[in-house]
């Protein structure tokens, strides 16, 4: 079977963060982890081409996945492989979007990602098999991926036995007992010694490791981003007041302060009266301009990003975070101030 493999700029050997803005390109045959993957696959399946794209270029725009898919089509792919992306957010997001697009276009596809990769939710119904958290686990990750590719090539669906992750959907359903009764049952079971019983897994929350401080703040490009739903007055782009599905960007080049009546918050989760009397208190443009004038920061990025955090799912919020990071890195921004409500 003719396989096409997607990897990012780093694994293709084209460069690290400095090359993350590279546009898509096609290489003949294998590149990077594709070489070992080809060995593991044997002679039945050939990686005929490798598609490469810089993480920032690819992750900042969902439309790039259509471009990448078209390149795979042009290379006569019969099956598409993406990754392994391990725990990398931008790479994982692109891999997930690409296999989702391929599956939607009836091209069999599989991605390899760590189960906690923030992009995993974007794979939709397309299969993702588990990768290790870091590249040190390359060999066992590729062994699993090769086995999954061989199985998928026969037309058989991938299951948890193949290391498939995601898709383990927690879906609401009606049961006989109301929640209050189930709470009493649960407390009695725990008192009777069953300390493991729970209806939702407890703990396991992400720990965010802070990035290193900015080296030279007075030379840094700084961006303002917010989940406080700051938008031009009247909300022309119809940002949701709750349960965001998207984020927006607005230029602030030459704007020194957010004037009440010109900007507003449409957030549904808190009383916006005070925020709308002075939108700078949600997005501190006035203070940032002052720091810029005083030379405390290099310069303020020319646009801000805005969404609403109220009721937005963790998976969606993670995706926004990855997209924002890719956008800001692409624009050469070194630091961002995220105001939350």
């Amino acid at each position: 079977m003719r396989l096409v493999h997607y990897v990012n700029q780093f694994y293709a050997g084209l460069g690290g963060e400095d090359a993350a803005g590279l546009g898509p390109q096609v290489l003949d045959g294998t590149a990077g982890p594709g070489r070992l993957l080809q060995q593991l696959l044997g002679e039945d399946h050939q990686i005929v081409a490798t598609i490469v794209c810089g993480d920032n270029y690819a992750a900042s725009d969902p439309a790039v996945s259509a471009e990448l898919l078209e390149m795979a089509r042009t290379a006569d792919a019969e099956l598409l492989i993406a990754g392994p992306a391990f725990g990398s957010g931008r790479y994982g997001l692109v891999c997930a979007r690409l296999v989702a697009a391929a599956q939607a276009a009836d091209l069999p596809a599989v991605a390899s990602m760590h189960p906690d990769n923030p992009g995993i939710g974007e794979a939709g119904a397309a299969p993702v098999v588990a990768a290790g958290a870091v590249a040190r686990q390359m060999r066992p990750t590729l062994e699993r991926l090769a086995a999954a590719v061989a199985k998928l090539a026969t037309g058989a669906p991938l299951t948890a036995e193949d290391g498939r992750v995601g898709g383990n959907a927690r879906i609401g359903r009606l049961v006989e007992d109301r929640a209050a009764r189930r709470a009493v049952e649960l407390v009695l079971a725990r008192l009777a010694g069953d300390r493991e019983r729970t209806e939702v897994p407890v703990g396991g929350f992400d720990v965010v490791v802070p990035a290193a401080p900015v080296d030279k703040a007075d030379a840094a490009a700084v961006a303002l981003v917010t989940e406080g739903a700051v938008v031009p007055f009247g909300n022309p782009d119809r940002l949701e007041s709750a349960r965001a599905t998207r984020w927006l960007r607005y230029p602030i080049e030459g704007v020194d302060t957010l004037v009440s009546g010109t900007w507003e918050s449409v957030a549904g989760g808190f009383a916006t009266t005070l925020a709308n009397a002075d939108p700078n208190r949600l997005l501190p443009l006035d203070a940032a301009r002052e720091l810029e004038r005083d030379g405390a920061i290099g310069h303020l990025h020319g646009e801000f990003f805005s969404t609403v955090g109220n009721g937005t799912s963790v998976a969606t919020a993670k995706r926004f975070g990855v997209e924002w990071a890719a956008e800001l890195r692409k624009a050469g921004v070194q630091a961002a101030i995220l105001t939350a409500t």
């Binding site: 006989e176 009764r181 799912s313």
Partner: protein, 428 residues
């Protein structure tokens, strides 16, 4: 501690008429009485409407929901702090119009738009699809501050709830239910564990507050509270965030966890009591209240506590910190959480939560539901948040169905990763 007697009068049908009355399970709501009970400078007009179970009716932008209750003549009144004095000098009998509810519906600034469908796939999800509802539509007066209009609506709802129940106090009841006071600490348990409930109340200012004896709990410490007082309406809702995650007054009056603990009292456990807590918005306040609640439960001799919340985000942290504080103090704790795992259910289920204890699932906030068109809509003509006509066929998240993820545990939704997923409509 008080022993309370619920004198139950069932409502099987409801109509609007010239004068309020109750006869053989049929409730008549007097139009003129509604107007006089809602008379307030902040309101230009009110319109009583009706919605009963099974009808092709959608109530949009619902606000609070109240169960009609009355103490009868000389009984001292219900809703202390709003309509009755806060003197605890009330009689033992509380008349309840079971099967009826009064609710307001309409636009207010922080009223996140929700809905109640009286039939169809969303009906099994809302506690208020099963009640005969007197729906009050309202127009704020020209130029009236909206917080004033909100207070006028709330006061009107409480007055109407009392007036309707007053009409039934001379009728023979369908049932009389004795509600014993909670088990006293230090008395014999018969070897049974003492289990109580902690109920967190939202305290975020106008349109985001819950009232205890007529005042916000903001700034207060957790307190032991008489469940008989809650039956008589000492806790009144004024919080209009997340429709599925609200606790309307009706559900405080019929607190599901208190009811379930009472049902098991003397069999598997001793009902140890109720603790009410504010949900402060600052981290230090959350830590203080969590620590104090754990100490209070210990001092009151609880072996275990079931902890409930209202809202999301902020409230998820209060709930998680409280459970962790209880477990660290050696108590067994269980929390009730709705999951927010995305429309396909594959994301992380909790935004914030406990690191110890156990969690009951209330269903998935983000799950999508397809609702068919309805013949009639009450409360408004247009759902702004999804830009749809109120009567149209729509697709909405469970988050929009009033009380569908009831943090007090009124609902029958849960999430499980296995067996293989089926849609809500397949099991409803």
């Amino acid at each position: 501690m008080t022993t309370l007697r619920r004198v139950v009068h069932e409502v099987h049908s409801v109509e609007l008429g010239p004068a309020t009355g109750y006869h053989e399970h049929h409730l008549v709501v007097g139009r003129e009485q509604v107007e006089s009970l809602f008379a307030d400078p902040a309101l230009a007009a009110v319109r009583p409407r009706l919605a009963s179970p099974g009808e092709s009716v959608r109530i949009i932008t619902p606000l609070d929901v109240v169960e009609p209750r009355s103490k009868g003549r000389g009984g001292g009144g219900v809703f202390p702090g709003f309509l009755a004095p806060i003197n605890r000098k009330r009689g033992p009998d509380t008349h309840v119009l079971r099967g009826a509810a009064v609710l307001a519906a309409g636009y207010l600034p922080r009223n996140q738009e929700g809905l109640i469908d009286m039939s169809g796939p969303a009906a099994p999800l809302s506690p208020f699809s099963r009640t005969h509802n007197v729906v009050i539509e309202f127009d704020p007066a020209e130029g009236a501050p909206l917080p004033d209009a909100e207070q006028a609506v709330r006061r009107g709802l409480l007055r109407l709830a009392v007036a309707l129940a007053d009409a039934a106090v001379d009728s023979a009841p369908d049932a009389v239910e004795e509600l014993a006071a909670p088990h006293r600490p230090g008395t014999a348990t018969g070897g049974l564990p003492r289990v109580g409930v902690i109920t967190n109340l939202q305290t975020q200012g106008a349109f985001k507050d819950v009232f205890v004896y007529g005042a916000s709990m903001a700034g207060a410490l957790p307190t032991l509270f008489d469940p008989a007082e809650i039956e008589d309406g000492a806790v009144v809702a004024g919080q209009y965030g997340h429709p599925a995650l609200r606790n309307p007054t009706y559900l405080h009056q019929n607190h599901p966890v208190i009811a379930e603990l009472r049902a098991r009292d003397g069999q598997d456990l001793r009902f140890a009591g109720v603790v009410l807590c504010p949900e402060p918005v600052e981290q230090a306040g959350k830590e203080h209240v969590s620590a104090h609640a754990a100490w209070l439960c210990q001092a009151a001799g609880f072996d275990a506590a079931i902890v409930t919340k209202e809202g999301a985000g902020n409230a998820d942290n209060d709930l998680g910190m409280k459970v962790d504080a209880l477990e660290a103090a050696g108590l067994t704790a269980v929390a009730l959480y709705a999951e927010m795992s995305g429309s396909d259910g594959t994301g992380p289920p909790l935004v914030a939560g406990p690191r110890h204890g156990a969690v009951v699932s209330l269903g998935n906030y983000d799950q999508r539901l397809k609702l068919p068109a309805v013949e009639q809509a009450l409360g408004g003509a247009h759902l702004r948040i999804i830009d749809a006509e109120a009567t149209a066929a729509i697709e909405v998240p469970v988050a929009m169905i009033l009380g569908a993820l009831s943090p007090l545990g009124a609902g029958r939704l849960t999430c499980r990763a296995d067996p293989p997923a089926v849609g809500l409509e397949e099991v409803a």
